[in-house]
Assembly symmetry: C2
Homo-oligomer: 120 residues x 2
Amino acid sequence: MSNLYDLAYDLENALRNSEDFQTLKDSYAKVNADPEAKKMFDEFRTIQMGLQQKQMSGEQITQEEVEKAQALFQSVQQNEVISTLMNTEQRMSVTISDLNKIITKPLEELYGPMADEKQQ
Amino acid sequence: MSNLYDLAYDLENALRNSEDFQTLKDSYAKVNADPEAKKMFDEFRTIQMGLQQKQMSGEQITQEEVEKAQALFQSVQQNEVISTLMNTEQRMSVTISDLNKIITKPLEELYGPMADEKQQ
Ligand SMILES: [Ca+2]
Ligand SMILES: [Ca+2]
């Protein structure tokens, strides 16, 4: 199955050379070089991850926590570099998810009908 | 980024035509056509998934449950079609995981150092 791996390396290369990846890399470098931006971004990420973990473990998220995250989100969005970074991350995440769906479609076709059967 | 999607479709096609995928498809068809094998396989899958869910939610798995799963695993392994199916699934799962690692390496390189930083 070496052909599969060759194609995966081609895809890796295309991803690495894509405009979105280059933008992502540049924005990260800029955020990391700006202590003020980095602090704000890290704080937002920490709170975001904390909320996601709470959500996954089924813990209750308080109104106060939601408001704090929203306020922080609004300040990070006002920083142009962070805003570019976050929008590009969002687009990259959709792209990766699309690529995954395409590549694993044969397996989805094979397992999908079985999964449907089980739900009945 | 249409090139990315073209390459993903090439990879999908290669996966679909791979020997492992064809074996997987054939073995599934054979198991589904054999009521006795299908029943045994479904029972094993159900128990396996139940144990995985318990593990993920941090619930205790009893010695009795482990032994039941092991006994069932030994009987399904003795069925040649199911055994081929399970071994091929295992290999396919490794392949998919390898492909994913290759494709997302640029992102891993970008985020990896940040993740390491956080652990310090
Ligand atoms: Ca600044
Ligand atoms: Ca039989």
